[in-house]
């Protein structure tokens, strides 16, 4: 193809505090082309699309639309330039009608008065164009997710979008609706729209994409035409990287008695959860976003409890309906979003480390005596190598690694039996990562158990004794220590029969 690219992004870089999200990424999309982007969670896909959509400004690099250089400072500018992004979470107003949603912010008015009839007609025409049988006057809340998706697309077409970004459009759709959506993508491609397609579903990607780009750790791995990119290659490129040697050695002895046993665990986001954690064991939980791995952690700590099934700790059934009950039962939680869920940022390092102890003690306990005395907790903080000039300083001033270590101290002080880690090293530098892995190992070796939920696959493989892989709310498989990233990825993608496909491709 010789056409000038409708979209060309070159040398895009973007850093957030502590993390380089994108590093010199080049990406382009021709008119009438479907260009898929694949990558693990955190590879930089969303950041790249947010830059394209004007939500973020790149630190370096340039964006050209049909050859013309553009700088977006606001999402609206991107929309006016013909870029439409359909996000994973739909952005429709549920209590307004389809037509009102399509025209949201761009209502047709005559002399300042809304022209509802014109909007209805245009909406109907747009919906017809994409083959959607939807009444423009129906409230959005009465539509299925698939239909809402179509409304989003109609909304994008209203702006005469030349570039349509679809972020996991089929994630919430069943087989039939997905196929219909893919047909629509084909139709739009025929009309000359450039489509950037982000998906974890490999069969879909290889069926629809003209070209495929793989992102990993904020860098582009390669861009290839579909014919040169069998699923196996894609998966390898998504996960392939050197295993760092800073993971602690596996335990010398086999795990002990069962500490935590979950049977038939289920709630709105989970189904048929059954697994156990033995003394001395680190159990990893892998899965893509929305696979239910976060929901599993929340269920274990009573934040979004199981509505069915049983949980037993040391053989005794326990109720985990609130975080407080889970804490009392001996389950500790280290949330992935430390700032929002883990820390009281304006309180001191000491107070944060003592938070759980003080929360579980009797109300009339003196706050600064015995186990709560500064000297006692300072010793524990020093043992964990939390670096701060003064443990009385606000914890918000510490680095991510030191904050995480302080939260670990909080649960060590409480002497919990099971710790549930979510993304334990997100945004943490390498040295602190190693220290946290060592601590996890030491905690498990002391006869207790760890459940670690992570999107960082090398981390899971390096630190976990066993990996549960989740897919669509259930556990799709279990892998022993030593499993490869590709095996995990295949289970996470729900591709139980992947090797055959690879052979066929």
């Amino acid at each position: 193809m010789t056409a000038a690219p409708a979209l060309s992004m070159s040398g895009i870089s973007k850093a957030f505090p502590g993390v380089r999200a994108l590093d010199g990424v080049d990406f382009d999309c021709l008119p009438g082309e479907v260009h898929a982007i694949c990558g693990e969670n955190g590879a930089g896909k969303s950041t790249l699309m947010k830059i394209l959509g004007g939500s973020y400004r790149p630190d370096a690099g340039e964006i050209r639309l049909a050859g013309a250089n553009v700088h977006f400072t606001h999402p609206r500018q991107a929309a006016e330039a013909g870029i439409s992004i359909i996000h994973q979470e739909l952005s429709l107003l549920p209590h307004r009608t389809v037509a009102e949603n399509i025209f949201m912010g761009r209502e047709i008015a005559r002399r300042g008065i809304l022209d509802r009839a014109a909007m209805r007609e245009t909406a109907a025409a747009l919906l017809c164009r994409i083959g959607a049988q939807i009444d423009p006057q129906a409230p959005v809340s009465s539509l299925s997710i698939a239909m809402q998706q179509l409304v989003e697309i109609a909304k994008a077409l209203l702006l005469d979008a030349r570039i349509l970004v679809m972020d996991e459009p089929t994630a919430a759709l069943d087989e039939r609706d997905s196929r219909a959506l893919l047909e629509l993508v084909g139709t739009l491609r025929g009309e000359g729209v450039s489509i950037v397609y982000i998906s974890h579903r490999m069969p879909e990607v290889t069926a629809i994409a003209d070209r495929i780009t793989i992102l990993k750790d904020g860098r582009k791995v390669w861009t290839r035409p579909r014919e040169a990119a069998p699923i196996g290659e894609i998966v390898r490129a998504m996960v392939g990287r050197d295993l760092e040697d800073f993971y602690p050695p596996p335990p010398a002895s086999p795990p002990g008695a069962v500490l935590l046993a979950v049977k038939d665990g289920a709630n709105a986001a989970l189904r048929d959860i059954a697994f156990d954690v033995r003394a001395g064991e680190i159990v990893g939980v892998a899965g893509l976003e929305d696979s239910g791995k976060g929901a599993l952690a929340q269920a274990l700590v009573g934040d979004a409890p199981f509505s069915g099934g049983t949980v037993a700790l040391r053989g005794r059934p326990v109720a985990l309906r609130t975080p407080r009950q889970a804490t009392a039962a001996g389950i500790g939680y280290l949330p992935g979003d430390r700032k929002r869920e883990g820390l009281a940022l304006r309180q001191s390092v000491r107070d944060n480390a003592l938070l759980t102890l003080r929360s579980m003690a009797g109300l009339f306990t003196r706050p600064g005596r015995g186990a709560f005395a500064p000297r006692a907790i300072d010793g524990k903080l020093r043992d964990m190598d939390v670096r701060a000039a003064d443990f009385g300083q606000e914890i918000g001033t510490l680095s991510g690694g030191n904050q995480q270590k302080a939260i670990i101290v909080r649960w060590l002080a409480q002497a919990s039996d099971i710790l549930v880690f979510v993304e334990p090293t997100r945004g943490i530098d390498i040295a602190a990562k190693a220290a946290i892995y060592r601590t996890m190992r030491a905690f498990a070796d002391s006869g207790r158990g760890i459940v670690v939920v992570s999107s960082d696959m090398p981390e899971l493989i390096g630190v976990a004794d066993r990996i549960l892989v989740m897919h669509q709310g259930g556990i799709s498989g279990q892998l022993p220590r030593g499993a490869g990233e590709e095996e995990v990825m295949h289970l996470a993608l729900g591709l139980a029969d992947a090797p055959q496909r690879e052979a066929r491709a």
């Binding site: 850093a15 505090p17 502590g18 993390v19 380089r20 999200a21 955190g42 930089g44 750790d217 904020g218 700590v301 934040d303 609130t322 975080p323 407080r324 889970a326 804490t327 009392a328 939680y333 949330p335 929002r340 869920e341 883990g342 820390l343 009281a344 940022l345 304006r346 309180q347 001191s348 107070d351 003592l354 938070l355 759980t356 003080r358 929360s359 579980m360 003690a361 109300l363 306990t365 003196r366 706050p367 709560f372 670096r387 701060a388 000039a389 003064d390 009385g392 300083q393 606000e394 918000g396 001033t397 680095s399 991510g400 690694g401 909080r410 409480q414 945004g427 530098d429 390498i430 602190a432």
Partner: protein, 327 residues
């Protein structure tokens, strides 16, 4: 994503300034008062100042509990009014019943505090709305009960709580009973925050309720208790007000905003997570000193409210500016 080297932020000391800010403002204002009216330096007049400031200081201590947990209690003034009106109606001049009625007042106050706390903790109604509703309801109930005008009578043993002054006390010369009540209440409030784990829990809840909950903190109980303490302080203040001002249907009017302003002037942070009992005590003394000063200058009473409004905004603005500068 590849990690960047973490830059360690410059090390900062925790802000102890907040405590001193209220004290400094109070000393400056009191110095100004003494400059205009030198006899304010005599122990007797200072004790009298304390006696008149006592209700506000007590209210501020109660309000502080709620502010630390990240809320507001706008119903305090109404509860104080209720306490005054209910006392005069129930006691009706019979000194025998005073102590039983005082017990009843506290039960009523605790009930209001519990309702506030339950509504905020479980219905998740923002505290500013929940307590605004409680303020209107309690005010309305108190007025309906009293028939819209002060009725009944307060016997001397009740009124003494607010106005009795012992003379010939060594060192200070005169000692108002209200000042003793004040000291006792402040000591209790201090103990609640510093002598039990409650204070640390309240700070954590006000700072980040989500993190506190996930760490096992009983967030709902912590919030409810704060509203109960606040209501108890309102009843206590009401009893003192009834003592030295007598019965009136607007006895507690506007006191809730004064209490909030006092806490903020003293350095407590609105929406929670920072502040100490001294924020409330010195903030309230500062505010009361300011009112006294404005009186001495001869400013009309009505302008006092305007100035209080300006101060509230300025104090919150200053505290936000301080926070922004530090981060």
């Amino acid at each position: 994503m590849s990690p960047l080297p973490q830059t360690s932020s410059p090390l900062r000391r925790p802000a102890r300034l907040a405590v001193n800010a209220g004290l400094v403002i109070f000393l400056a204002l009191y110095a100004a008062i003494a400059f205009l009216q030198p006899n304010y330096l005599e122990p007797g007049l200072f004790m009298n100042f304390l006696r008149r400031a006592a209700p506000l200081v007590i209210l501020a201590c109660g309000q502080l509990y709620v502010i630390l947990t990240g809320g507001f209690d706008l119903s305090m003034g109404a509860v104080a009014t209720l306490a005054v009106l209910a006392a005069s109606i129930l006691i009706n001049g019979d000194p025998e019943t005073t102590w039983a009625v005082i017990g009843t007042l506290y039960v009523m106050g605790i009930a209001v505090g519990l309702v506030n706390g339950l509504v905020v903790a479980f219905l998740k109604v923002p505290s500013i709305i929940a307590t605004l509703g409680a303020m209107l309801s309690v005010n309305g109930l108190a007025l309906a009960w009293s028939g819209g005008a002060a009725r009944g009578d307060l016997p001397d043993n009740f009124r003494n709580l607010g106005r009795l002054v012992w003379r010939g006390v060594p060192l200070v010369g005169t000692l108002p009973l209200a000042a003793v009540v004040l000291a006792g209440f402040v000591a209790l409030a201090w103990w609640g925050l510093n002598g039990t784990v409650y204070g640390k829990r309240a700070l954590a809840v006000g700072d980040n309720p989500r993190a506190a909950e996930l760490a096992g903190t009983p967030v709902a109980a912590t919030r409810i208790l704060a509203f109960v303490v606040s209501a108890v302080s309102a009843v206590t203040a009401g009893i003192l007000i009834g003592g030295f001002s007598g019965v009136s249907v607007n006895a507690g009017e506007g006191l809730e905003l004064q209490a909030i302003a006092a806490c903020v002037i003293g350095g407590a942070q609105l929406l929670g997570g920072r502040g100490s009992i001294w924020s409330a005590v010195f903030g309230a003394l500062s505010l009361f000193a300011l009112f006294t000063l404005l009186n001495l200058i001869g400013l009309p009473q009505a302008l006092r409210d305007s100035i209080q409004g300006v101060i509230l905004i300025a104090a919150v603005g200053a505290s936000l500016w301080r926070t922004r500068r530090r981060t």
